[in-house]
């Protein structure tokens, strides 16, 4: 198989306009003859479903929650980037493009990223028109904040709830189409497989999570907008239900999975308190605008802090190490996430960690409060401070926050070409579910941008081209491939339900998480990864023998849902390990201990690894096959990232 990314010819800045012109169109009267399936109603899915409905297609949309409004995008806090240059501080489409490519450590496709930067400006306009209440200045114009990895202020926000407001905007557009009868919404439905006919995606199989009914749905194209797979780590900032199942089942049907080992560890999360913990909570990156990250200068002081004999605010200025400001004077606390995370980890490893467990550093607002006053700080971050207080019972206005990195985002995902098509024609992947725009590390506030760009402004064009080519001939579920796939799903469900062992699915999940975090987390080594591979294989075998799945199919059954997701995570986990093993360089979020500069920074190997690793499924328990999509850079010059 050769991977064709279908990148349009021509100068970078003209590729998208030219491509839009070259794409075939579906004439307005014909649009209603096409059915489109959209799985997932987060930012990517809701915006795609709404826009396709507006254009006149018949859309069927699916989500596993009880309402599209609850997709995990709702939890995004900090903001969304756009190259508006409203602040007149030197921003431009090119600069946003450049920052994103550089932030991604030169492992993303130039053309995609440029397009993303280009349409970013339209996203803000669209959201404002929908009634998204972005933060504003007294003059009535939109306000901006800055985010990690950039030196301009281009992040639009709605207090600490930007994702919520953007999603509710997309949800409202979706609702309008549901009301108009152009979108049919299936909530509490979990997609469990893709149906392909002659190599083209023609539908999906779902399980109705209320009744257990396993149904087939046909369409001319299927869009997967099912989010990221951070929950492979068990503990992450993602919602409990976030899963890889849809993407993974598509992978097993032939869609290549790209860069699975590129995962992002977010530097500012609330540290773990104990084994009972079910998820981690992010403290938005925006906090690093005003908060200063530090650890005690010596392990001895850290020890006192851990024991509680010394309070953080009693530590003398001289005894504090503002390690990010010290090491990276240009970007200071606003270095990209991977850099900030790794530095925190280093502090902990040097014995300078704080908090009960020792797995934390401080994020201090004392200076900001002194400079701006408590009221201003509260206006900017109030809800985050409240959230911190709720969880830790400590008042961050008085004591610095304790933070520690946690898994937050997955840059890897289904491989897609410039048109967002996976390697299965007719099957598209949008949003966090695909791998496309963030390379080996995502900059803050750019996932929301990507999800909405894919859904509002890219897929409506690129999908039309495919549809025009295949023609509006009706597809329905009478083709035997539907029944066949449905039987496969039923068999899988029954296999899970037959598990009546002695270990809960949750216990397996937690174990998987430990393995991945330990060996495929912030730092990875050859030996560790090899060990992890064995551990995961053993875990998988054990799971299929000893897991407990309660209840039956024909009812609401959270145990069954969970089991299916964890089974897929285990398989994905193994692929992540393979990918991380193969990639012997360090880049972005993927830090191979063997590949670092003299002062401990990630060391890329552009000669050997400037490619996208796309993996092909070759059958159960078979090694996957690696396909490489070479990355070529015309507009930017590859350099070692340097934030000092």
């Amino acid at each position: 198989m050769t991977l064709d990314a279908k990148i349009p010819q021509g100068p970078l800045a003209e590729k998208w306009s030219k491509h839009k012109f070259d794409l075939k169109l579906v004439n307005p009267a014909n649009k209603r003859k096409y059915d489109i399936i959209v799985v997932g109603t987060g930012l990517a899915g809701a915006s795609a479903a709404a826009t396709l409905g507006e254009l006149g297609y018949n859309v069927k949309a699916y989500c596993f929650q009880d309402s599209p409004r609850r997709a995990h995008s709702i939890a995004a806090q900090g903001g969304i980037n756009a190259a508006k240059n409203y602040q007149n501080d030197g921003d431009s489409v090119f600069r946003l493009f450049y920052d994103t490519i550089k932030g991604g450590d030169y492992r993303a496709r130039e053309a995609n990223v440029y397009r993303l930067a280009e349409v970013s400006v339209n996203i803000i306009d669209q959201c404002v028109a929908q009634g998204v209440p972005f933060a504003r200045e007294y003059g009535g114009l939109l306000d901006n904040r800055s985010f990690g990895g950039s030196q301009v202020s281009r992040t639009f926000y709605a207090r600490g709830q930007t994702g919520q407001q953007l999603l509710l905007g997309a949800y409202s557009a979706l609702n309008r189409q549901i009301h108009a009868g152009k979108v049919k919404m299936y909530t509490r439905h979990e997609m469990l497989d893709v149906v392909t006919i002659d190599g083209h995606a023609k539908g999906i199989v779902t399980r109705n999570m209320l009744t257990g009914a396993i149904d087939t749905h046909a369409a001319h194209a299927v869009l997967l907008c099912t989010g990221g797979y951070s929950n492979v780590f068990y503990l992450s900032t993602n919602a409990i239900g976030s899963n890889v199942t849809a993407a993974w089942r598509a992978h097993k049907r032939g869609a290549l999975f790209a860069n699975p080992c590129y995962t992002q560890i977010h530097p500012t999360c609330i540290p773990v308190t104990g084994d009972h913990q079910s998820k981690l909570t992010l403290m938005s990156e925006s906090l690093r605008n005003d908060g200063r990250v530090w650890a005690p200068k010596t392990a001895a002081i850290a020890e006192q802090l851990r024991k509680g004999t010394l309070k953080a605010d009693q530590v003398k200025e001289d005894d504090r190490d503002y390690f990010l400001e010290r090491k990276y004077p240009a970007f200071g606390n606003l270095v990209p996430r991977d850099v900030a995370s790794r530095n925190a980890k280093e502090m902990v490893e040097e014995g300078k960690g704080v908090g009960g467990s020792g797995f934390a550093v401080f994020l201090d607002f004392a200076d900001a409060i002194k400079r701006l006053g408590e009221e201003t700080v509260a206006a900017k971050y109030g809800n985050l401070f409240d959230m911190y207080y709720q969880i830790t019972n400590e008042n961050p206005y008085k004591q610095p926050m304790r933070i520690y990195p946690a898994v937050h985002y997955t840059m890897g995902g289904l491989w897609v070409d410039y048109n967002l098509s996976t390697t299965i024609p007719g099957l598209y992947a949008l949003g966090e579910c695909n791998f496309s725009d963030h390379g080996a590390n995502r900059l803050g506030a750019s996932a929301l941008m990507q999800g909405l760009s894919d859904g509002y402004f890219v897929i409506p064009y690129t999908l039309g081209d495919y549809l025009a080519k295949i023609g509006p001939k009706k597809v329905d579920t009478s083709h035997p491939a539907f029944e066949q796939t449905k039987q496969d799903v039923i068999a899988h469900v029954n296999k899970l339900l037959a598990l009546k062992g002695n270990k809960t699915v949750n216990e397996y999940h937690r174990e998987l998480g430990h393995i991945i975090w330990e060996y495929c987390g912030m730092a990875r080594t050859d030996a560790g990864l090899r060990k992890a591979k064995g551990l995961i294989q053993a875990l998988k075998a054990d799971f299929w023998k000893n897991a407990i799945v309660t209840g039956e199919n024909e009812e609401v059954n959270a145990s069954l849902e969970r089991a299916g997701r964890v089974a897929d995570f285990i398989e994905l986990g193994e692929l992540m390990i393979d990918d991380a093993l193969m990639r012997k360089e360090s880049c972005g979020g993927h830090f191979r201990v063997e590949s670092q500069t003299a002062d401990g920074e990630a060391l890329r190997d552009d000669e050997n690894f400037a490619f996208v690793a796309a993996w092909e499924f070759k059958g159960e328990n078979q090694p996957e096959e690696l396909h490489k999509e070479p990355l070529t850079f015309e507009a930017v010059h590859l350099s070692q990232r340097n934030y000092a």
């Binding site: 609850r70 669209q126 209440p133 003059g139 919404m185 104990g274 998820k279 992010l282 709720q390």
Partner: protein, 261 residues
């Protein structure tokens, strides 16, 4: 696995589905840590039920950080538990004391039928939003984001209304099972912003009509919703909705049809 020292008795509503009758069942929750969230405490109970081969308690949840609106639970007489301004997933066990008996019920309302155990069907909320909770603009062709300045106070107020997470605690708390806080929050958000003006009077009629159809009760300005709303949505929203509704119905000249086909 748990590592705390609180022991509690739970009285939990168990009901297989909407068609069968339900009942309270008592469970022991042992070795609970005060740092656990309420849902993590239920996880502990569910793990032990699963080990015994029993069916775990079913409840809705997802984000576990107070923003998706999926979690519910009526705990000891309070939706989302006794603490103000938080959802159940943000409620920590330190709010309770060792030896306490905690009664956990599902949201109760005609418009929120029970799905299973503690989970209810809140799709009525979606249908109300579908009836008109939007600005009718298609993707593309909209003016620049800064084309219409919006006074900061207006934007902030609209934001406050927009923070509703659609959890339904207002309905659960209200003695009349009224959904007016939820409905009015959206109407207010869009009614305040210039972008929402063109459809302001249409929207309020459509959404109120759908709300009535769903079988929610009627507001008597009791204020329990405001007291229990995890996002502290203000009662003032309801007054705004009333105002818009009466303007639309009684005073506006133009013929305004509800958005039905």
């Amino acid at each position: 696995m748990s590592n705390g020292n609180m022991n509690l008795t739970l009285k939990v509503w168990r009901q297989k589905n909407a068609q069968t009758a339900g009942k309270f069942v008592s469970y022991k929750a042992e070795n609970i840590s005060p740092d656990m969230s309420f849902l993590e405490m239920l996880d502990v109970v569910n793990e032990s039920l699963t080990h015994k081969g029993d069916e775990p308690i079913n409840f809705d949840h997802d984000c576990r950080e107070g923003i998706c609106g999926m979690c519910s639970l009526y705990i000891n007489g309070h939706p989302h538990g006794p603490k103000r301004g938080v959802t159940t997933c943000q409620l920590h066990m330190r709010t309770f004391h060792d030896g306490e008996t905690i009664t956990i019920e599902p949201w109760r309302a005609e418009a929120f039928p029970i799905v299973k155990d503690l989970a209810v069907d809140r799709s009525a909320f979606d249908r109300i939003q579908q009836a008109g909770g939007y600005v009718s603009v298609n993707t593309g062709g909209v003016p620049d984001g800064n084309a219409i300045p919006i006074p900061k106070v207006i934007a902030d107020e609209a934001f406050n209304s927009a923070t509703c997470i659609g959890c339904g605690a207002c309905v659960a708390a209200c003695k009349n099972a009224s959904a007016m806080l939820f409905v009015s929050a959206k109407i207010t958000q869009l009614g305040l912003l210039p972008q929402g003006q063109p459809e302001r009077y249409r929207r309020v009629q459509s959404m109120v009509a759908q709300m009535d159809e769903e079988g929610f009760g009627n507001c008597t300005n009791t204020g329990a919703c405001e007291a229990e709303c995890p996002k502290e949505i203000k009662l003032t929203n309801i007054a705004r909705m009333n105002n818009d509704y009466f303007s639309a119905k009684l005073f506006r000249q133009e013929e305004i049809h509800e958005q039905n086909h």
